[in-house]
């Protein structure tokens, strides 16, 4: 049945290059999460502000991010923005696409988390004389982060998996891109991508474990 000689050596020799790629993957994922969380907090504040324009903007962002494919969002950044004369490198467009996606999903997470925080918390803060922004920043937001932390971890894993889409817009420094370059040179598709799959799996598991450890350390009473 298998009329094929597996050449694992060749693929294993390229392991250092692939691990470098894995670092780039992690870097993109972390950056996209940082941008995503920042924007998501902004969007959440927009939605709470009661301003119709800001609220509508936030809702539009969230619905667009959640109802179109991530690959479409990356395409939009890579090809679509070209119509305005903005030409992004694969790295930037990948980062922009994933950050856009993350922000939408995280804003929805935060909204769910806000529901779990009793209204009385904010009201008690206000009655102690805090202005609305201070009450949100010092009382509501920390609790929101605690509730939303583990769902956000899931989003981090998603971000890592999403970075693999960069190869479709010509990214060649992250794990998927490096693997594809090596594959294009040797045509050992199965071996190279099997190793890439193992690395992705290990990264995803490591991130989940680390996040659980952090959550246990930070959020216990």
């Amino acid at each position: 049945m298998f009329n094929y000689n597996f050449r694992w050596n060749q693929a294993l020799n390229a392991l250092p290059q692939m691990l470098d790629g894995a670092l780039v993957t992690l870097q993109i994922a972390l950056l996209s999460m940082l941008i995503g969380v920042t924007v998501a907090v902004l969007l959440t504040m927009f939605r709470l502000s009661g301003n119709r324009i800001l609220g509508g903007f936030a809702t539009a962002w969230v619905e667009l991010a959640r109802n179109t494919p991530a690959l479409f969002q990356i395409y939009m950044a890579h090809f679509g923005l070209g119509a305005f004369g903005i030409h992004l490198s694969p790295f930037t467009s990948l980062l922009a696409g994933i950050a856009f996606n993350n922000a939408g999903y995280l804003a929805e997470n935060f909204r769910g988390a806000l529901k779990a925080i009793p209204d009385t918390q904010a009201r008690a803060a206000r009655s102690l004389g805090m202005p609305a922004t201070q009450a949100f920043r010092l009382i509501v937001m920390p609790q929101m982060f605690r509730v939303a932390f583990l769902p956000a971890t899931n989003q981090m894993v998603w971000a890592i998996l999403m970075t693999s889409l960069g190869v479709i817009v010509g990214m060649n420094t992250d794990l998927a891109g490096v693997t594809q370059e090596l594959n294009a040179r040797s045509f050992r598709t199965f071996e190279f991508f099997a190793i890439a799959a193992v690395i992705y799996y290990l990264i995803a598991k490591a991130v989940t474990l680390a996040a659980h450890a952090v959550a246990w350390r930070m959020f216990r009473y």
Binding site: G82, T163, I168, F193, A197
Partner: protein, 217 residues
């Protein structure tokens, strides 16, 4: 003022792409859900220890990027000389991917049925199968349907990745048009609008059912 080289034929081409997207999604969701139900019941019945191998295998499908899975499956079918076309390969991979998520949803649904209800059923003389069919299935469906709708929409969106295997689905169709007409923004906006129109109403339905069917409020 505004003119475009896009013709009706191009729109029909896009519609064919959307048809391919829906086709891949439908096949994968149906097959994946059936597998997910079987695996979910197995996982629940076997308990956490004995189902460890199954959990591990299914977890792989959730922790490895779908794109890598597609490339691997395509390379594998070539090595094993299975002679699958890209459509079959895509459907197999997406079905397994769906099954991996669906298993968790099904297990969660079964666990949400109170033990007392099931014991009451069994003590009335119902067999395991009767209990599953008439007691657990309706109650579990109610709990898991919103999550399942979310999963279906996820698969609809993730099915865009099958373009890597050369299948002309919606996104690939619009990319071909972009290459030919050089109007990226306009064509991509049409493509996005189609995805949005397919996904948004169903997402709203899911949200409605989640609120309507929440057992505790």
């Amino acid at each position: 003022m505004f003119d475009t080289a896009l013709t009706w034929n191009d729109l029909i081409f896009l519609a064919h792409g959307a048809g391919m997207t829906l086709m891949v999604t439908a096949v994968s969701v149906v097959a994946g859900t059936l597998m997910g139900i079987v695996f979910g019941v197995l996982r629940y019945q076997a308990g956490p220890v004995w189902s460890l191998p199954l959990t591990f295998v299914l977890d792989i499908f959730r922790s490895v990027p779908l794109l890598i899975q597609l490339v691997l499956a395509n390379a594998f079918q070539a090595i094993a000389r299975l002679g699958w076309d890209p459509f079959t390969t895509s459907c197999v991979v997406l079905s397994l991917y769906t099954a991996a998520f669906c298993t968790e949803i099904v297990r969660g649904g079964i666990e949400a049925v109170p033990h007392t209800t099931r014991r009451a059923a069994r003590s009335l003389g119902m067999t395991w199968w009767h209990d599953m069919r008439y007691i657990v299935a309706p109650l579990a469906t109610r709990v898991s349907l919103p999550a399942w709708i979310g999963l279906t929409l996820g698969v609809l969106k993730d099915s865009s990745l099958v373009l890597w295997l050369g299948l002309i689905e919606l996104l690939r169709a619009s990319q071909i048009l972009v290459t030919r007409l050089q109007e990226p923004l306009f064509i991509l906006m049409i493509c996005g609008a189609i995805y949005f129109l397919l996904s948004f109403p169903v997402a709203r339905l899911g949200g409605y059912l989640e609120r309507r069917w929440s057992p505790n409020d």
